[in-house]
């Protein structure tokens, strides 16, 4: 019972947490706590097979499925805490509390007597015992379950399937499209120019320089441009000069702030 008294408050708290956390991911993690705790309780209740299944199927498969879907929907999405249906929240809490009270009072009214325990049933091993029952007495239910699983799988595939509405675009089509764009709007046919690469480091954040000395905007990723982390080529050139001078001992290294420098810069320093 020690395990129970340790785990029970944890489980209740985790379950309550599911009610109140705003992010679905946190709810999933709290649910994982409850499920693993349950698995341990199963072990304590002489159900080693269910202990394994709980960990593997529930925590491992089902909960992971939840997390996958959460990722598809958006991990960041968080619920609004404002209740929109009038009276729903307090009625729900009232009803839930009433239900719990009813159930506990109901259980308190009965006396179950001494616990028989599963020593006899598990004498040949828990898995063997379960297998004996499942493949004899419950074999029909078991077979029906298999049909249910197949149906569920097919159903999920049907639901997730998206019909192709347009013909598949081939490489030839893409090439033709590109030439057509060039003919109509003068869009450049070839690949975009690569970013400027200085000998010192792999500078994808530094635009290439055109022959007239200006920077080619299309040579750096738009994401970097949006973050505002694009370096300008002349400033970089100046920086390179300074470092060269440093290397030759003309200027003290402290002039250059360490934080300003990119990581591979510092590596270069150490090297």
């Amino acid at each position: 019972m020690t395990a129970f008294w340790i785990l029970a408050p944890v489980m209740v708290l985790a379950a309550l947490g599911i009610l109140f956390v705003r992010k679905a991911v946190h709810a999933a993690l709290l649910l994982a706590v409850v499920m693993i705790s349950l698995a341990i309780l199963y072990a304590a209740l002489e159900a080693p097979f269910l202990f394994a299944v709980q960990i593997i199927v529930y925590t491992g498969a089902i909960l992971m499925l939840f997390l996958f879907v959460l990722m598809l929907v958006g991990v960041d999405a968080s619920d609004s805490v404002v209740e929109t249906i009038k009276g729903q929240r307090w009625l729900a809490f009232l009803g839930g509390a009433l239900l719990a009270t009813l159930l506990i009072v109901g259980i308190a009214q009965i006396s179950l007597g001494a616990v028989v325990g599963l020593e006899d049933a598990n004498s040949d091993g828990n898995v063997q015992g379960l297998a004996n029952i499942i493949f004899s007495h419950y074999v029909f239910a078991f077979e029906v379950t298999s049909a249910l699983l197949i149906t569920a799988a097919v159903g999920a595939m049907v639901l997730a399937h998206r019909e192709r509405l347009t013909p598949k675009v081939t490489q030839g089509d893409l090439a033709k499209q590109r030439m057509r764009d060039y003919a109509e709007s003068g869009k450049h046919v070839g690949p975009l120019p690569p970013p400027g690469v200085f000998a010192r480091h792999n500078a994808v954040d530094t635009p290439a320089l055109l022959p007239d000395g200006t920077a080619a905007e299309s040579s750096v990723s738009r994401v970097l441009a949006a973050r505002g982390t694009v370096r300008s080529a002349p400033a970089e050139a100046h920086h390179v000069d300074e470092i060269e001078a440093q290397l030759h001992g003309d200027l003290p290294a402290a002039d250059v702030p360490a934080d300003d420098r990119p990581a591979d810069d510092r590596e270069g320093d150490e090297a």
Binding site: I85, Q88, A92, G95, L102, L103, G106, Q109
Partner: protein, 656 residues
């Protein structure tokens, strides 16, 4: 038909005081086994003409009218043969019954399709088939140019068959069959020219008013079955003494109601005058010789009930007396020749009802007058038809005048009928009507005076009809060229004219004795006034009536348009003595008001409740549907509510 133990009851009834003649028919043998043919022939004719006509219209139309006449003539021949056969039998064996088949059987009710041929039926059979044949033959000429003559003859045959069923039936259910058949056929015939709205309305009116009477007959039959356990004449006539007088009075009054409907007696008289919308042979057949006599037949046939029901008998007398004056007054004011004759018919049937109500003293005379009336009224109706035939179907007597030279046969035959109806000494009506007046005086001085007054009025209006039609100056329409009708129409007139003259003489001597086994023998009774005085009084009154008519019609110019500034009495008589107004006020308008009130209640209360309920449900629904707000979590909350409810209940039940 003979029930062994019924004889015991008959003896008991004889021992129990009032004696009524018991009908005890013997088996049909010899010529009497053809009894069913009398009905079957016209019925088959109707079947062929109406159903066959629908399939082979052209072929049947070519000989349909001949077939129609042949079937009725065949019936007449069978009737005649049976009549002769009856004459040859002993008086005790003159009642013949024929059981054709069991009609229906339910519990203790066992109705056979039984025919009864006795002295009463025999006379009716001769009248119906004889006069019917003449009218059929006459119709060949009258309906010659009607494209639906085949159908007309089909209806006529149907009518005759129904009427024969009525008078030949051996039980009241059979009578009812014929009764309803007559009602149907009269509806079809009155409305034969249904393209005229007035004819259609008249047919409907006749049918509806007849239904009122039919209720009486059906209730009477039901009451008789409850009381006697049977509807057969033979059994009821034997055991009628067993029933209480109040029951018999009830039966008698119900039968009287039926008779009033069919015989156009006050208060159910309103349909007869409108029924003149039918073709004239129909008027002659239905409204003179046969259909309207059915009521009289019913009362006379049910003598075993009426003899033991004095209250009902008195009612019959009152109805008869009122109707004979009512009809006579109407007849005085009508310018339409057929309506004047219809008023006359109503009045004469009133005489018969009066006689029938007098009991044993009057039954035979009722039938006697019925037969003579059948002759002279058919004669006059057909004569009127002949006049109309020559006057382009104009019925207004104010457009007639001086026709005696133009239509000699018609005039003379009509004159014979006229003499008969006013009771000119020696003619048919003289014997029959005087006997009724005598019997009426024997019953009650006031009834006698009413009958006497009726005779005077009859003389007045019939003289008026004859004068306006055949005498006075011609007042014809411009394009009218009066001409005598063809032989096929005048020959029946001649036969009927002859019967009008001598029919009374033919039957006067023996009809009372002949009918005695059916209706009972006349007891001798003293009259308050000697017989010769009554005869003299009657003739005087008739002469006064004729004289007044002579002065008012012959001695003055007859205006072509009916004068409007006339006395109240004339106006009332022209309006059928407000018979329709009385019906409207007493029945139609309260009925309509009730229906309007019921409609209002239906619209307001019933519909209001139904529609209000619907609105309430709809309103509740439109509020309740707010619960269906689309939020899954709300639904889940209600599920939780249900779970809690169940859990709480379980807990309460288990812990309690």
């Amino acid at each position: 038909m003979t029930i062994p133990e019924a004889n015991l009851w008959g003896l008991a009834a004889e021992g129990g005081g009032h004696e009524v003649p018991v009908i005890d028919p013997g088996a049909a043998s010899g010529v009497f086994s053809l009894m069913w043919l009398v009905i079957a022939l016209p019925a088959a004719g109707a079947l062929v003409l109406l159903l066959g006509g629908a399939l082979f219209d052209k072929a049947v139309s070519r000989w349909g009218h001949l077939l129609g006449c042949a079937t009725v003539l065949g019936s007449f021949l069978v009737s005649l043969a049976m009549f002769v056969g009856l004459l040859g039998r002993d008086e005790a064996e003159r009642q013949v019954g024929q059981h054709l088949f069991t009609w229906f059987q339910a519990g203790s009710l066992d109705v056979g399709f039984d025919l009864l041929y006795d002295q009463l039926s025999a006379l009716f059979l001769l009248l119906i088939t004889g006069v019917g044949s003449l009218i059929h033959i006459y119709s060949i000429g009258y309906m010659e140019h009607d494209p639906r003559r085949r159908r007309f003859f089909g209806y006529l045959n149907l009518f005759v068959a129904a009427m024969l069923m009525l008078v030949l039936a051996g039980n009241y259910v059979g009578v009812f069959l014929g009764w309803e058949g007559v009602g149907l056929a009269s509806y079809l015939l009155i409305g034969f020219w249904q393209h005229k709205p007035s004819a259609a309305a008249a047919a409907k009116k006749a049918f509806v008013i007849n239904r009122v009477g039919d209720i009486g007959l059906s209730l009477a039959i039901a009451l008789m079955f409850v009381t006697f356990g049977t509807t057969a004449f033979s059994t009821i006539s034997e055991v009628s003494g067993e029933a209480s007088e109040s029951t018999l009075n009830a039966i008698g009054l119900l039968l009287l109601l039926a008779a009033c409907g069919k015989s156009a007696q006050v208060p159910l008289q309103a349909w007869l005058l409108d029924a003149m919308e039918g073709p004239t042979p129909v008027s002659a057949l239905i409204h003179a010789a046969t259909m309207v006599t059915a009521g009289v037949y019913l009362v006379v046939r049910s003598n075993f009930v009426f003899e033991l029901a004095p209250a009902a008998q008195t009612a019959v007398v009152v109805v008869g007396a009122v109707t004979l004056l009512w009809g006579a007054v109407i007849g005085c004011a009508k310018d339409d020749i057929k309506k004047a004759l219809a008023g006359s018919t109503m009045s004469q049937i009133g005489y018969m009802m009066l006689a029938a109500g007098l009991g044993v003293a009057g039954y035979a005379f009722a039938i006697f007058h019925l037969l003579t009336h059948g002759f002279f009224k058919a004669n006059m109706f057909l004569g009127a038809g002949s006049v109309m035939h020559g006057m382009n179907d104009d019925v207004d007597m104010r457009h007639y005048g001086g026709l005696r030279t133009e239509m000699r046969f018609t005039f003379w035959t009509f004159l014979f009928g006229y003499l008969a109806i006013i009771g000119f000494p020696g003619t048919a009506g003289y014997f029959s009507k005087d006997k009724i007046i005598e019997a009426a005086f024997g019953e009650n001085i006031w009834v006698g005076l009413a009958a006497l007054l009726g005779a005077g009025i009859t003389a007045f209006y019939m003289t008026r009809v004859v004068l306006m039609t055949f005498f006075t100056k011609p007042r014809w329409e411009k394009d009218v060229h009066p001409h005598e009708s063809p032989l096929v129409m005048t020959v029946p007139l001649m036969i009927l004219g002859a019967l009008s003259l001598v029919g009374g003489l033919m039957m006067f001597g023996w009809i009372g004795d002949w009918l005695a086994p059916v209706v009972g023998a006349e007891e001798h009774h003293d009259l308050p006034i000697p017989v010769w005085a009554i005869i003299a009084l009657t003739l005087t009154v008739v002469a006064i009536g004729v004289g007044i008519a002579w002065m008012l019609v012959q001695q003055r110019e007859v205006p072509r348009e009916a004068p409007q500034d006339v006395s109240f009495v004339t106006r009332a008589a022209r309006a059928d003595l407000y018979g329709d107004a009385i019906n409207d006020t007493l029945v139609v308008e309260p009925g309509a008001a009730t229906v309007r009130a019921l409609t209002a209640i239906d619209d307001g209360v019933v519909d209001g409740a139904v529609e209000g309920g619907a609105l309430a449900v709809a309103g509740a629904g439109s509020r309740l549907r707010r619960l269906q707000n689309g939020f899954v979590r709300s639904y889940a909350l209600t599920i939780l509510g249900g779970v809690l409810l169940v859990a709480l209940t379980l807990m309460a039940v288990t812990l309690a």
